[in-house]
């Protein structure tokens, strides 16, 4: 049994960690947090040069052609560093949708640009409150033009193109939904930045008024593609979450070792130790669930839907748990703008919602386990 990443993959993780510790220190995250830029353009370029943006994109489309396991290790490091770049939207959502459903021409147009850091992509799925479901999609497509509003769209204000979920039927079935590719720099597209709990990764509202669009995949197959994209993205984002959870745990541990109160390091008090031990437990459970997700993703196993849901739930819980308790261990200082704790807290709670909330994935997991049980 070799239920672990290979030495080469671990080496890639070390490279990514080194690169990000140099190019993405907390002050770089802060620059975006403070609104100095919409995202870190230099970092984005650097990631492209390192080959990280196209790590899972086939070589014929300008990528490294490595695979999803390699992307998982990069994702973990991106989460650890809170990289303030549109990585998850472009790489996990847009690129995966293109690779799953794009025509050869569409792949040739966008994938090399993604790998080179020259195009930012996203998935425009949500339309206000609610979780992923064909029912919440009201935006309509007629011919090659779209009408309706999407929000929140991750990184929508800086994206060059979007994969848009649209209604093309009214039977009340999944087949009512189709996907379209829209060049967001074209006409009929109005973008409004939305203030959100984690400004280091933007959210936007996009209004489509007779916007020009081209189909992505066959008509009526949109929901099937979205489901697959969400499962893949759930595993990848879960690695980001585990990276963030681990870092929050380390920050709490380090503070508990350094901070003296009542004449001793606060880490010698059991009340503090036990908080940190529980953080370690949740982060470890999440990591193990993520490994299973990575295996299922990389082998395109039939277990992927179940594994993705488990990874997503476990990693969401772990990151939220570690981020909030990191603040608790820091006490008052943890609640200052100056300390970095809140950046992890913000990211943890924003990523908990992006692909559908915890309760959505809980429901999905049990659905999928039931189906396996019945089969």
């Amino acid at each position: 049994m070799n239920f672990d990443f290979s030495d080469e993959q671990k080496q890639m993780r070390d490279e990514a960690r080194k690169f990000l510790s140099e190019q993405c220190p907390p002050k770089a995250v802060r620059a975006v947090l403070d609104g100095e830029a919409a995202y870190d353009k230099d970092l984005w370029k650097g990631l492209a040069e390192m080959g990280f943006l196209g790590v899972a994109i086939p070589e014929q489309f300008g990528g490294a052609g490595a695979g999803h396991l390699e992307l998982c290790v990069i994702a973990e490091e991106m989460g650890r560093a809170l990289a303030p770049v549109p990585f998850s939207s472009t790489v996990y959502l847009a690129a995966e949708a293109l690779m799953l459903a794009g025509s050869d021409a569409q792949k040739r147009k966008w994938l090399p640009k993604i790998a080179a850091g020259e195009a930012i992509g996203t998935l425009a799925l949500f339309e206000g409150k609610g979780n992923p479901s064909p029912k919440v999609i009201k935006l309509t497509a007629s011919g090659d033009s779209l009408n309706g509003t999407k929000k929140p769209v991750p990184d929508g204000a800086i994206a060059d193109f979007a994969v848009v979920a649209a209604r093309t039927g009214s039977t009340g079935r999944d087949a009512d939904i189709s996907l379209f590719l829209v060049d967001l720099k074209g006409g009929g597209v109005e973008v409004k930045e939305l203030t959100n709990i984690d400004p280091t990764r933007g959210q936007a509202e996009i209004i489509f008024s007779n916007a020009r669009a081209e189909p992505l995949g066959a008509t009526g197959e949109g929901w099937g593609i979205i489901s697959q994209v969400l499962d893949r993205a759930a595993v990848l984002l879960a690695f980001e979450q585990v990276g963030g959870a681990d870092r929050a745990l380390e920050m709490g541990r380090d503070y508990a070792l350094d901070r003296i109160a009542f004449g001793r390091p606060i880490g010698s008090f059991q009340a503090v130790k036990h908080i940190l031990a529980d953080m370690y437990v949740s982060a470890t459970l999440a990591r193990s669930n993520c490994y299973y997700g990575a295996w299922a993703l990389s082998t395109n196993a039939a277990e992927l839907p179940e594994a993705a849901a488990a990874a997503r739930i476990s990693a969401t819980q772990a990151f939220q748990h570690c981020a909030k308790n990191n603040i608790q261990v820091h006490g008052g200082m943890g609640f200052t703008w100056e300390f970095d704790c809140h950046m992890y807290y913000r990211r943890a709670n924003a990523t908990a919602l992006g692909l559908g909330s915890l309760s959505y994935w809980e429901d999905a997991l049990i659905d999928r386990m039931r189906k396996k049980n019945a089969a």
């Binding site: 049994m1 239920f3 541990r253 010698s268 940190l276 437990v281 470890t284 295996w295 429901d363 049990i366």
Partner: protein
Amino acid sequence: MNFDDTPQEAAFRAEARAWIAANAPKQYEEELRKSSLGRTQLKNANILEVARAWQKKKADAGWACLHWPKEYGGRGASPIERVIWQQEEGPYGRLSAMFIIGHGMCGPTMMAFAREEHKRHYLPPLASGEKIWCQLFSEPAGGSDVAGLRTRAEKKGDDWIINGQKIWTSGAHYSDYGILLTRTDPAVPKHKGLTMFFLDMKSPGVEVRPIKQASGQSDFNEVYFTDIRIPDHQRLGEVNDGWNVSLTTLMNERMSIGAGVATGFPELFEFCNNLMLEDGPAIEDRSVRSRLANYAVKASGLKYTSMRAISALSKGERPGPENSIGKLVAGSMIQEVAMYALDLQGAAGVVSGPEDAELAGKFQAMLLRAPGTRVEGGTDEIMRNIIAERVLGLPGDIRVDKDVPFNQIPTKGRS
């Protein structure tokens, strides 16, 4: 990343599987598979006898205590082969419960500290289940604080005279031998005055009294020692070095990987799949699904944590400390699972008699046994301390009794 055996592992697995298929007591397979916490009995057989027969059969064919050297009754197998065996043994592994302490703790301690002639004499019948061993550490005044124990050992000529009391000794009532931690010098700080021995449980002056647990069962005992005599050659390690010897024992307890800790989740999931609530199937209820999902990811998290450890073993590495989480997570989870399963039964959840209760009272039995899982083998709090100190590197507790002679440590709280 894969779950595949190496060719050598696959060959070993095939051999183990074939032997088990030909030799296991299949008539009990279903019952053993369905057994759960607080419910491991066989209806028409004495489980102790079935367990001993299975262990002997394994030993005769070289499948007992696989990782022990052959000369001591083992197979000289690698750690990963031991795990593969456990996977293949499956439900029959539950028959090993009465041997776990002897094989997991007493045997390794003997191997590390006993004289060669003792090892050759005592270890093979321990491996084969012909002799059963217990571990005599905990005392009324020393549970989590095991170094606070008070059982005295005093040298008289070539022998040691033992007086005192142990508690929570699993299986003492059917054990032939035990390893015993005693105090040999009360005038020095507590960790520095302990000595380890092994003894014959049939020695004159040993009295075993079963403890009736809160669950109504009796898995544990109190053991009283009145002037029992242990020859010095049965001492394990140096005089007053018993604390270090005991660390070997405890380390081995926590090294056992792959056996899989019971969480109660598979039972709960199956129960919910078949349960009808007032408004329809329980499994279609949003709140039920949410609870189930939370338990599911803990159970799968533990499973894949153990897979990661097994992978480390397979590569010849030492598994990391992440395995210390198993008992902590599973212990409180099985208690919550049992409570929730009763909650879903409504008022009828109170009924526990096997004839009248849902699923023959499986979850009721689990509930009543569960408090013990959070205490035995290291309380939840001790496990958290271990994770915090040994994994995360946080400082140890400030110990007010560390440098105080044992006989000057206060023994009463409010006085």
